[in-house]
Every structure is written in C-alpha cells, then in structure tokens.
C-alpha cells in the first residue's frame, strides 16, 4: 500500500483528466451529499459529516480538513450508469410510416467515479449482473461501465443506518476498484492510504506523488476500518432470509408496514440497485417527430403492474412486499446475490422511517410458515 498526501490530491484529479475522464464525485449541495462533476479537490465537501437516522439526514460542518468524512447521500452511481432519463430513439414520420433518425448510441462520457463506497461497489457489481449478466445486455450501460474508472473510498466511520457488514460489502473495498483510498485525518496528519486494484490504478498512481506506506500507517488505517465495522449501528440477519420471507408471504407485518408506508417510491429512487424503468413516447405538435424515452420507475407506483385485465398489485401492502421480497429473496433466484448492499439509504430517505432491517427482523421473530415454496 502507498500513501498519497492530501496536498497531492489534486494530482490524482489531473491524472484522471489527463486520461480523458470526466471525474464525478461527492459535493455538498442543498444540505446533502450529491454527486456531480469534480474539477479540483476544493469541490469536495470539506469538513462535512452526515448524521443519518430512520427518516432523517443532517449534514454537519466541522473545522476539520477531511474531504470524505461523510458516508452515502441520496444519490448513487446508477445516476450515471443508467441515467434517470435516457432517449432510446428519435423517429420521424415518413409517408404512412416512420423512420428511426437517431438511436441511443450517443456515447456517455468516460467517467471516473471518485469516492465510491465499498457498499456502492457491491451495488455496481449487482448492476452489472442485471444489465450485462444474462441473455441480453444494455449496450449503453455496458459501454459506460467498461470505460469507468473506480476510485473507491473506504468508510472509517459508519452512518446511522449502515449495515454493510451484514451484507458483506464493506466497510473496506476488496475488489472491483482501480484505486481504493482510506482517508486519515487526525493529529495533524492528512493523507490517504491507497490500495491499488488494477493496472489502470497503478498507471494513474504513477502520475501522483506518493510513497510507500509505513507499517504503522497501514495498521492505523486497518484499525479505523475494523473499528468502523464493529461500530455498525444496524444489522440484518441474512441466514435463511429468502426462505423466511417466502414462508411469510401472508404475514400480518405486511399490513402493518402498509399503514406506515406512503408508497412515495423514495426507497426505490435512492436504492443503488433498484433498476426498474418505464418508457415514455412523445411527439411534437405536428406529429412529424417522435421520441421514445426510458425513465426510472418504481414498483410502488399505481400502474406498475397494469395489464389488460386490471392491476396485479393493488395495495401498498403488496407493493411494499414485492419491493422487500425482491430485494432480499427473489434477487437470489434472479441474480445469485442479495439485492441489498446495506447502504441504509432506503431507511434514511423514507419519509416515515421504515427500516428494512427492522421489518425483516420482526418477521423473523414472529414467523408463520404459511406457504411452502
């Protein structure tokens, strides 16, 4: 492992730009951490620390110099990998028919994702299996993802709703990054302990002033990470969870959660693995031009399961159940992993503070075996 001093951090950004990357990273905006283009280290949220509780998020400013002193905000990298709105094609009217005039081949920029948390690496791996793991691939996702450089940041402190340890995704990145940084900002020291994860990472590192890490520096970083792991506020018992939920398809807890859930879809928008989308077809006033757009959708919306005969999931009860069972049970059947990475966003950004870990735990403690599946 090597050390990059804080004063040389801008060299990392230059090294990325030199390789034609558009650097995306965290910025403090509207009282929260958002993701946007980063031009220099000064764009990063210095001295910002987030306090997260169910249904609550607060960004506290302190006098320290830490630039990664918070954890995850409401946005995640899916914003770039499969954008909230994407034009699939434009068409123009031609006689009795139409002609496709452009398609979605317009490439996205080459992104360097800076400040990807270990749980978010887990989420991106899951995105990969959704969009590039089966019979079909999403061409735009695949090209954006293939070109993306991942600069991870390990979490030396969990936020109030984190449970990455339960989901085996953090707080230390172990794979699928180019560089992984652990920020040490204490007692007059401010530097990054850096893991190299790829040849690309190595080559970028060579453009940045760095030195070999001392044993005690590595130990301090690992120490902070294990303290962070031990300090997780939440946990989710995953043992046998898919079967447990399948056995409790008619559990009264679904009624109870439906009384609290507003079906606002926030949890699905902030979730880094939720991938549902719908399409909008539009024309201009003359009807000579038409476009087809894909946009994020949510299984909480009222017409999500509409078919010719009616609507399949008619209640909040069944929509919440679908969301949670998809995440924690069906995902295993579909993609071989859990759909949850333990980032806690759905808990933080739920307006009424519904906590997926509590819901799962409650069902576990009051399990009824109704259906054999």
């Amino acid at each position: 492992m090597v050390i990059i001093g804080f004063t040389h951090f801008d060299e990392l950004l230059s090294a990325l730009r030199k390789r034609d990357y558009t650097v995306i990273g965290p910025v403090a905006r509207d009282g929260a951490i958002a993701l946007d283009v980063i031009l220099s280290a000064s764009d990063l949220p210095k001295g910002c620390h987030d306090e997260q509780q169910p249904g609550s998020y607060f960004l506290r400013h302190e006098e320290d110099e830490a630039i990664f002193g918070y954890v995850v905000g409401p946005q995640s990298w899916k914003k770039y990998l499969y954008p909230p709105r994407l034009k699939l094609f434009s068409a123009k009217r031609e006689g009795k028919g139409f002609e496709i005039v452009s398609d979605s081949a317009t490439p996205s920029p080459k992104y360097a994702f800076l400040g990807v948390r270990p749980c978010e690496i887990g989420a991106i791996k899951i995105n990969d299996s959704v969009f590039d793991g089966g019979q079909y691939s999403d061409a735009r996702y695949v090209s954006t993802r293939k070109d993306a450089c991942v600069i991870a940041v390990n979490c030396t402190r969990p936020a109030g709703n984190c449970f990455c340890v339960s989901m085996n995704t953090g707080p230390r990145a172990t794979h699928a990054f180019d560089l992984a940084l652990t920020e040490i900002c204490e007692n007059g020291t401010h530097h990054f302990v850096v893991d190299v994860g790829s040849e690309l990472g190595q080559s970028i590192l060579e453009d940045v002033t760095h030195r070999q890490a001392e044993k005690n520096e590595i130990e301090r970083a690992l120490d902070l990470l294990s303290t962070s792991a031990a300090g997780m506020c939440k946990s989710l018992e995953t043992e046998g969870l898919p079967q447990l939920l399948n056995d409790n398809y008619e559990h009264p807890e679904w009624d109870d959660v439906a009384k609290r859930c507003l079906a606002c879809a926030n949890c699905t928008m902030v979730c880094p693995t939720c991938f549902c989308s719908t399409v909008d077809d539009i024309t201009d006033l003359t009807g000579d031009h038409a476009e087809r757009w894909r946009r994020w959708d949510s299984c909480f919306t009222s017409d999500f399961t509409k078919i010719a005969g009616g609507n399949i999931r008619m209640s909040t009860r069944t929509r919440y159940r679908q969301w949670m069972m998809h995440k924690l049970a069906h995902w295993h059947d579909q993609f071989g992993t859990s759909g949850c990475v333990g980032c806690g966003r759905c808990i933080t950004w739920c307006p009424v503070g519904i906590d997926i870990t509590h819901e799962a735990q409650h069902i576990r403690e009051t399990s009824i075996s109704t259906i054999n599946s």
Partner: protein, 158 residues
C-alpha cells in the same frame, strides 16, 4: 332389464354403485331418446324425472323477457340433467332442450325419492353423487360468472 343394467353400469354417475343399490335404482329407470330441438324438461314444471345423458347434448335454457331463451350451459355424454327432483318443491328452474339427437336414461323422480326415504344408505349414496355434480357445476358457474374473457386476455398481451 339385463341391457339396462349394462347401460347404467357404464354411466359415470353410477360408477362403483353396489349391485344391491343398482337393483334398487333400476326399477325407476327407462331408456328415453330425444330428437333434436325437443324438450326434456320445462322451467316451472314439476321435476318428475332425472336424466343420465348417454349421448347427444342438452342445453339448459331460461326465459328472459325481451331476450328470449338464454342458454346457460350444456350437458353431454356421461353427465346428468337436473337435481330439482331431489329438492322440494321439486320444480325445474330451467328448461332443457336437446340441441342434437340425445339418448338418456330417465329415472322417475317419485320412485327414486321413495327409495331414498325408505333406504337411507341408498339415499345417501344418491345424495353424495349428486352433491359432487352440484359442486362441480357450481364451480364452473362461478368461473362463467367472472366473464373472464370479457376484458382480460392472456398469453402475452398489451
């Protein structure tokens, strides 16, 4: 009589009936044919018969003012027509029209009722068989009520 026993034995409604009960029943049975468009039973009339259909097809009809005879259901080979014979006040709720030449075994209702009253084992046997027919018929009617092809579709549809 020998022939009739064989015919009766072949009908699914009487499958597995004991020899003793078959003897009880056969005294009430006659072989009846109906030509196309003839009526087996009439709505409102006394239910004095019970038919085991051997071949052909019978439509159950009800009269709806302004719409004429509405056909609710058809019964065919191996099925039975009517249970009003067993349930007071023993009147038909539907009419039964042969939509094609139809062969039946007609069982006299009064004869059958008397035997059911005097021989409780036989009565229970008849009731069990009829209840099973009614259960299936009710289930089918529920499905029909849903008008499931009305708006819904299947396969993969828009």
């Amino acid at each position: 009589m020998e022939d009739l026993t064989i015919i009766l034995r072949q009908h699914p409604f009487l499958r597995g009936l004991s020899d003793e009960h078959m003897q009880t029943l056969i005294g009430c049975a006659t072989n009846v044919r109906f030509a196309e468009n003839s009526r087996l039973i009439n709505e409102g009339e006394l239910a004095n018969k019970f038919f085991l259909i051997r071949s052909g097809r019978v439509a159950l009809e009800t009269e709806v003012s302004g719409r004429g005879g509405i056909r609710i259901q058809t019964v065919g080979p191996g099925e039975v027509l009517g249970w009003s014979w067993l349930i007071s006040p023993y009147r038909w709720h539907f009419s039964g029209v042969a939509v094609m030449d139809t062969r039946t075994i007609a069982l006299d209702a009064e004869c059958l009722r008397n035997k059911c009253e005097t021989d409780a084992h036989f009565g229970y046997e008849m009731l069990k068989r009829l209840a099973s027919v009614m259960e299936r018929r009710l289930e089918a009617t529920r499905l029909q009520l849903l008008d499931m092809y009305g708006i819904t579709s299947s396969g993969v549809m828009p």
